[in-house]
């Protein structure tokens, strides 16, 4: 009985930590609460973050924000969305930025900084860990 209990407890712990890891890895793509945009596809999001598009499907111009280089959120975002490493993204922008084909998104230091910025930027778009989301921002997409 004790053995079963222990195993159950361990399983619960394991499941809990797995679930926790899962939750921690999820990112929410957020905009200003007043935005009329209802959602964004992964393809649209890729285009926005690679500077190929500056507008959402409803025609609204958006400014995207990024996390600092080396941050867990940034690494996860580009890996999940485009299967690209940070180095690939860096090379991509080094070609475009110095040939007048676009500028990389602004970078902000933390989840809180991104959320604060989106709250005061009507055309701003960013991504943060899902557990940081509250009613002051609107979620367009959850990235696994």
């Amino acid at each position: 009985m004790r053995r079963i209990l222990t195993s159950a407890a361990m399983l619960t712990l394991l499941a809990g930590s797995l679930l926790n890891a899962q939750v921690h890895a999820e990112l929410a793509v957020i905009v200003h609460p007043s935005s009329s945009v209802e959602g964004v596809t992964q393809a649209e999001l890729s285009d926005l973050y690679l500077g190929k598009k500056t507008r959402l499907s409803n025609g609204a111009k958006v400014q995207v924000s990024d996390h600092a280089e080396g941050s867990a959120q940034r690494v996860h975002f580009y890996k999940t969305l485009m299967k690209k490493s940070e180095a690939q993204i860096k090379r991509y922008w080094s070609k475009r930025m110095f040939s007048g084909k676009g500028t990389p998104p602004i970078t902000l230091d933390s989840n809180q900084a991104v959320k604060d910025w989106v709250e005061v930027t009507p055309n701003g778009l960013g991504y943060i860990d899902t557990e940081q989301v509250d009613g002051k921002v609107k979620v367009l997409l959850i990235l696994p």
Binding site: M82, K90, R91, S94, F98
Partner: protein, 380 residues
């Protein structure tokens, strides 16, 4: 000189406009730097306008620094200035490499006016940014075919997408003034009076127009084609409005760990009827190509390049002929910094008894010679 002054003052004016017209938060400053050392074992010789000497040099043309200031004046209007200082015969004189205003009509249509780089080859418009490509420098056998790297004029960039294919249609038109080094082969064969090796020459080009077409598939493979033509004038040599044409094709692949680049280029220059001096003496018809293959292993990218420079459709005695094999290694020091080493074996091609010294300043004593280079590239 006058031209350099104009571009610099144009650049400064644009910068000034940028800083007064908009809030400071919209001004972006970025830069790039390459510190390079080169050496050739060719005795008492130099390679490629001083790119490498028979002694170690760190102040050659590979060493350069660039600073870019760009600003959004309004939602659709932006200005960009890129100042560049380079070693070698440019002597680190600061010049405006880019200085333009752009207007974004739509996400997929931007027009620009001012001083612009000409997209003759795959990496032409970011050629100064060493960090952006695997080599220390793109293969010169191909890239030297067009000595005109920038224009004062206009271009337009149409960037439609179809599924996962991104297209670029970029027509351009303008004129330019620049300085180039007299090809050593010309001094050897023609021996123009009062000209010695290493001398520079001012030239201008007008009615400079062309197009750059490219398609990128899933962000992995790009194929491109480019064409440009112009009328060149070299006043000191009595050359006026003689026509030159460039055709270039290229492809590049960055797929999983495989990196590949290949380009072909062809230069055709009209020969003027005698006794008019011909532009084709200094810039004879040539054809060139290269193939680079690399394989990424974590932070290392070993790569190998074969390049060939040969005569074109209507060869002249001053044509440059050589082949080269380059083995290189790029190492990612950090995100935004790369260390590179290369060894290049160059073999000038002597045919039909005509001795060719390729890009070397003088005839080689052996069949071939080596160029060794090391470079540190950063962007910031």
């Amino acid at each position: 000189m006058n031209n350099r002054f104009t571009t610099v003052s144009m650049g400064l004016t644009l910068m000034l406009c940028a800083s007064t017209a908009s809030a400071l938060e919209d001004v972006r400053i970025n830069g790039f730097l390459t510190a390079a050392g080169t050496y050739t074992d060719a005795q008492d010789n130099t390679y490629d306008d001083g790119l490498a000497l028979n002694e170690v040099r760190f102040d050659g043309p590979d060493t350069r620094v660039g600073l870019q200031v760009s600003a959004d004046v309004s939602e659709r209007v932006g200005v960009t200035v890129q100042m560049l200082a380079r070693g070698g015969f440019e002597n680190f004189d600061i010049k405006a490499d880019w200085a333009y205003v752009d207007y974004q009509f739509a996400d997929s249509f931007t027009a620009r006016g001012g001083k612009l780089k000409i997209p003759t080859f795959l990496t032409s418009d970011y050629i100064e940014v060493g960090y952006a490509y695997p080599w220390i420098r793109p293969p010169h056998e191909v890239y030297l075919l067009n000595p005109i790297t920038s224009l004062s004029g206009v271009d337009a960039m149409f960037t439609p997408s179809l599924g996962s294919v991104d297209f670029l249609i970029q027509p351009f038109y303008g004129s330019t003034r620049d300085t180039t080094v007299v090809p050593p082969q010309v001094v050897d064969i023609i021996a123009p009076p009062g000209t010695s090796k290493g001398d520079t020459l001012d030239f201008s080009a007008k009615d400079l127009g062309g197009i750059n077409l490219s398609a990128t598939f899933s962000g992995v493979m790009t194929v491109r084609a480019g064409y440009l033509q112009t009328k060149a004038t070299v006043p000191t040599n009595g050359i006026f409005d003689q026509e030159g044409k460039f055709l270039s094709l290229g492809a590049t692949l960055d797929w999983h760990n495989i990196v590949a680049y290949s380009e072909y280029a062809k230069r055709d220059v009209d020969e003027a009827p005698l006794p008019t001096p011909s532009l084709a003496i200094a810039l004879p018809d040539q054809e060139a190509w290269y193939l680079t293959l690399g394989y990424r292993i974590n932070k290392f990218l070993p790569h190998i390049t074969y390049a060939s420079l040969d005569e074109g459709s209507d060869p002249f005695l001053t044509v440059l002929k050589q082949t080269s094999i380059t083995a290189g290694l790029r190492y990612e020091v950090a995100n935004g910094a790369a260390l590179k080493v290369e060894a290049q074996r160059v073999e000038p091609k002597t045919e039909n008894g005509v001795i060719n010294h390729g890009l070397f300043n003088n005839r080689l004593l052996e069949d071939n010679a080596n160029i060794y280079s090391i470079a540190f590239d950063v962007i910031f």
